[in-house]
């Protein structure tokens, strides 16, 4: 055990049991998995991505490239969890990844021996051809060999919640700068939201030994936390990772609600996605320590100095017995004091120029030895050490501020990229701003909070600036160590070495973005947080370019990996998207309906009767029933828009190609709408309810788009028109009643109305009463039969279905679904969604005569273009197989007989096909070049997808009752 006897922020009274690779260990509350592994002397935690080199814990934060584990097992297994950010809990179960058969002995480590061929761009160069090998051989091979952790393949058993927050000031990060900012703004009464990724507040104050106001920094943190909790306008979100900055000061964050429990409580979400809108933001995300690129710098036992400091001070562990230090920074030198205070031997402090006290060795670490670290080499001299702490400088964590496109600039004073011009509304504070000392962090937090308050017009109380202990913050640079022996790693997770950067540069990849793609530098799950800048500096040196000129890559959200489930929230499986149910849905389900998705709606597709084994059997029965008796169909999903006002008629004249102003009250008319480019937009009927009021119908699919279009005409094109319009789709349940017995049935339902052909002819409409409530009756026919549509308020929709069934029982009223509806309309040649597909004109659909020449309407001018009225355009025709019983398929292409099935012979395609009971065979509608003049001609309908080739005869699209006798009957 390497647990120190005292100190740290762990709770020794709360021991926690956990397992790693099946072996049992013990840690304490307040540990991370990484600190608990260190306390248990576990040095080897993973294998690298490409060379399968043994790896240990490098960091104590989210930049960790090595210590990736699979957390939990079974369906809850979460691969690629960073041991350094996993909060320890009792019963935690973790397994190492990327090793086979075991962590200690990895067969794939032979890749390390073959490393000369695994250089930068290896995949691009090697697996090029033969091309057909790629999918079958190369890709699976590479994935198996080089993969990170594997997904369970099981459905996620957990749930994910969502929340929204609004605040005057968002503070990202609860280190000294963030806490000071939140406290300052909170005391002034501002609405403050402070988010912290860690399970404890304090940031580096937990890991470093400082004094604030004469007390240990940890005590100051506790006092601030208590005060923040007491302020009514302040909200503190711990375990919450802010992963993205978006336009208009909005942010995304994910809160780990139950990730520190074995399983969430019943109903409790595992994580919660936050969308945050802030008036002002202070980014206080600190900085990430850089590794140093020397030979063997990836050996288990080589760690960031800041991580060693955290494991000793915060977690009260000794990562090693003899800890050497290789430092370019003042913070690295500070570590020696902490180690000595903890009773840990420091065999050597190495700095390139000998900076430090008298015992410092001037030189560089050029090599490391041991399976896990046993010794280091400095200027040819071996020094025994089981841990090497490297302090390579600091990269301000500015990813969030860069998400909106702000470009970091190089600061030669601190040798780091900083953000001089953060996005509007955002300020940087502390190490994120490149101000690495504690005093500066406190100053920044106070100053930026006061500035934000002043911006918002809120009086800032002048709080005392707490006194802070001295904290020198000098930084030097050393991008690579000359004379290194062995591989010197830049990107630990993707195994990118100093040599790879040099190779990439020699091969011409000289911009940082090209370098990234070619070497995969910074493209692993840590997104290059530890090593990317080192790689860019090496490239700059190789090209003899200044860092400021070379620049860095563009940062994009998410800043940290986020579980897809957190984005999906409650919208999974059956609730993937909202579902719309008609008022008659339950009735339809009771009557054997199978439902089909039409946009968000569920529509009855057919109603299976006992004994029917096949959908076609049900659909054919339903279609026959309509032709011979009477059927009822729920058509509530069609869009219904009411248009009212003195100029309602004028508005409709401009919306539709045909005249609607001449429609008498009590009548309905079929109408066609075009887009302004002349193509058909939608079709439906308009019924005039009063002089100044119409109700129009739209297709189900286009209901929302037509409403938007009507509003566009009212608000943008012709605001001078006095016309009001609103969707009433939800208000009315509407049912089609069709068939020779439709009148008898409707008369039973509406005994007081005169439904004779004279009183209520084809295309009549009326407002009437049903059961002492409002109702609307239309004589419309999509099926070609004598037919009505009746609408009642939706809360009576189910009752209407029952009443129709009851009233029609004696003559076999039959509910029919969308499939039978489709059969009936194909038999009548009515275009529907397959024909109104955004590529057809009125002429194409045989409706050229509906384009009024007596008025302006949307699409008028461009519909008249020569190319859109060319008779050679594919135009609507009917198609019948020449050999009875053969089946034509939708989507089949139409070709001349004898022509090869190639694109240049294509003359159109089949839009809709069905089995027609009245024809007693398969029929189809299609769009055929110069179609109407080719009636009687034979063509081929070829479907390469289905492998069918059917000879068909071109015919009129109206297969049944061409004179329309039945619908007027």
């Amino acid at each position: 055990m390497s647990r120190l006897a005292a100190g740290g922020s762990i709770d020794r009274r709360q021991p926690l049991a956990f397992t790693f690779d099946g072996k049992s260990y013990q840690g304490f509350a307040g540990d991370t998995l990484a600190s608990a592994l260190i306390a248990n002397d576990v040095r080897l935690v993973g294998r690298s991505f490409k060379y399968h080199r043994p790896r240990g814990i490098l960091t104590a934060g989210a930049e960790e490239p090595n210590a990736l584990v699979t957390l939990r097992s079974g369906a809850r297994a979460e691969p690629n969890s960073k041991a350094t950010t996993v909060e320890l809990y009792d019963g935690l179960e973790a397994a190492s990844q990327n090793r086979w058969p075991s962590l200690g002995f990895d067969m794939m480590a032979v890749n390390g021996l073959l490393s000369p061929i695994f250089v930068a761009g290896f995949y691009y160069k090697t697996f090029m051809w033969p091309r057909r090998f790629w999918e079958r051989l190369y890709e699976p091979l590479i994935r198996r060999a080089a993969g990170l952790g594997a997904l369970s393949g099981l459905p996620d058993p957990d749930s994910y919640d969502r929340d929204h927050a609004f605040c005057d000031l968002l503070v990202i990060g609860a280190g000294p700068a963030g806490l000071m900012a939140a406290l300052t703004a909170g005391r002034a009464g501002a609405r403050v939201l402070i988010v912290e990724e860690d399970f404890a507040l304090g940031g580096r104050l937990l890991a470093e030994r400082h004094e604030i106001d004469g007390q240990p920094a940890a005590d100051w943190v506790a006092a601030v936390a208590a005060e923040l909790a007491s302020l009514p306008t302040v909200r503190v979100l711990k375990r919450t990772t802010l992963f993205g900055g978006y336009d208009s000061c909005t942010f995304g964050a994910v809160e780990k609600v139950a990730d520190h429990l074995v399983t969430p409580a019943a109903g409790q979400p595992r994580q919660r996605l936050w969308k945050i809108a802030a008036k002002r933001t202070i980014l206080a995300t600190g900085a990430v320590e850089r590794p140093i690129s020397f030979g063997g710098n990836d050996r288990p036992g080589v760690m960031q100095a800041s991580a060693v400091e955290a494991y000793v001070n915060r977690f009260a562990t000794a990562p090693g017995k003899r800890i050497a230090i290789f430092a370019l920074t003042a913070s690295g030198l500070r570590l020696a004091r902490a180690l000595k205070a903890a009773g840990i031997e420091v065999p050597a402090i190495v700095t390139p120029d000998g900076t430090g006290d008298g015992s410092t060795i001037a030189g560089m670490v050029t090599a490391t030895h041991g399976k896990t670290l046993r010794s280091i080499e400095v200027s040819g001299r071996r020094i025994e050490a089981d841990i090497l702490a490297m302090a390579g400088g600091w990269n301000p964590a500015i990813g969030i501020a860069s998400h909106l496109g702000a470009r970091p600039v190089w600061d030669d004073a601190i040798h780091a990229f900083v953000l001089k011009t953060p996005p509007a509304g955002m300020a940087l504070a502390g190490a994120a701003a490149g101000h690495f000392s504690l005093g500066e962090a406190i100053d920044d937090g106070l100053r930026e909070a006061q500035a934000a308050l002043a911006d918002l017009g809120m009086p800032a109380t002048v709080g005392a600036r707490p006194a802070t202990s001295d904290d020198p913050a000098g930084v030097g640079t050393l991008w690579s160590v000359p004379g290194s022996k062995g591989k010197a790693f830049v990107d630990f997770q993707h195994d990118v070495t100093v040599d790879d950067i040099a190779l990439a540069e020699r091969e011409g990849f000289r911009s940082v973005e090209h370098l990234k793609r070619y070497t995969t530098l910074g493209m692993a799950t840590d997104q290059g947080k530890a090593g990317q800048v080192n790689g860019q500096a090496l490239l700059a040196a190789a090209t003899a370019t200044a860092m400021g000129e070379k620049g860095t890559v563009i940062a994009r959200p998410p800043d940290r990996p986020v579980a897809i489930g957190a984005f999906a929230g409650a919208h999974t499986a059956a609730h993937f998207r909202p579902v719309r149910l008609t008022a008659g849905h339950a009735w339809a389900a009771e009557n054997g309906a199978s439902f089909v998705d039409t946009g968000q709606w569920k529509r009855a597709q057919w109603f299976t009767r006992p004994g029917e084994s096949d959908w076609l059997e049900s659909v054919t029965r339903e279609a026959r029933a309509v032709r011979t008796g009477v059927g009822i169909c729920d058509v509530s999903t069609l869009g219904k828009i009411e248009v009212a006002g003195p100029d309602a008629a004028t508005l409709l004249d401009r919306l539709y190609t045909n005249m609607m102003s001449t429609l008498p009250v009590g009548k309905a008319r079929y109408g066609l709408m075009l887009r302004e480019d002349g193509f058909v937009f939608d079709d439906g009927t308009a019924a005039r309810l009063a002089d100044d009021r119409y109700v129009i119908s739209t297709t189900t699919a286009n209901a929302a788009r037509v409403m938007q279009h009507v509003d566009y005409c009212r608000h943008v094109l012709w605001p001078e028109l006095d016309a009001q319009a609103v969707s009433v789709t939800e208000q009315w349940a509407q049912v089609a009643v069709a068939g020779p017995n439709a009148r008898v049935l409707m008369q039973r339902l509406l005994p007081d109305m005169d439904l004779s052909n004279e009183a209520f002819p084809f295309m009549a409409s009326a407002q009437c009463r049903w059961r002492d409530g409002p109702a609307r009756l239309f004589r419309l026919s999509f099926s070609g039969e004598l037919a009505y549509e009746i609408a009642v308020p939706a809360d009576r929709g189910a009752a209407l279905m029952r009443a129709l069934t009851e009233a029609g029982r004696s003559f076999g009223v039959t509910p029919y679904g969308t499939e039978a509806l489709g059969v009936l309309r194909i038999e009548k040649g009515h275009p529907a969604g397959n024909e109104l597909n955004g590529q057809t004109t009125a002429h194409d659909l045989g409706m050229g005569r509906m384009l009024s020449a007596r008025k302006d309407f949307i699409g008028r001018a461009l519909a008249g273009r020569a190319a859109l009225t060319d008779p050679m355009r594919p135009t609507l025709v009917g198609l019948k197989p020449v050999r009875p019983g053969e089946r034509v398929r939708g989507g089949a292409h139409l070709l001349p007989l004898g022509a090869a099935a190639r694109a240049e012979h294509d003359q159109g395609y089949v839009t809709s096909a069905c089995f027609s009971p009245v024809v007693d065979g398969w029929i189809a509608l299609g769009l055929l070049a110069n179609g109407p003049s080719r009636i009687g001609e034979r063509v081929r309908a070829v479907s390469p997808v289905r492998g069918t080739d059917v000879e068909v005869e071109v015919c009129s699209p109206i297969f049944f009752d061409p004179e329309g006798v039945r619908l007027r009957g």
Binding site: D247, G405, A704, V716, A861, R865
Partner: protein, 87 residues
């Protein structure tokens, strides 16, 4: 992105439907010819900078608005009701 709807106040962009440049004016009337309409429907300036755009507050007040947005930064200078912008 948050859009300041003149009626509803600031709302998230996902409540809106984007249409595009608000500058082109429909050549109204039965005498306007094909060329005028082609000009209205097709060519668009690819503005890098401030632009007046039509947005529809589909999941809000169902009103068409004109938003002044900088296409480079997504900074929004303001928004007005389309029917008022036309006057």
């Amino acid at each position: 992105m948050r859009i300041p709807c003149p009626y509803c106040g600031e709302r998230d962009a996902h409540e809106f439907v984007y249409r595009g440049d608000a500058a082109p004016q429909r050549p109204d009337g039965a005498e306007a010819n094909e060329a005028a309409f082609a000009d209205y429907v097709y060519p668009r300036a690819n503005v890098a900078g401030a632009m007046h755009e039509h947005w529809y507050h589909a999941q809000g007040c169902r009103t068409w608005i004109v938003v002044e947005r900088d296409t480079r930064s997504h900074a929004i200078a303001g928004a007005t009701l389309a029917r008022e912008a036309k006057r």
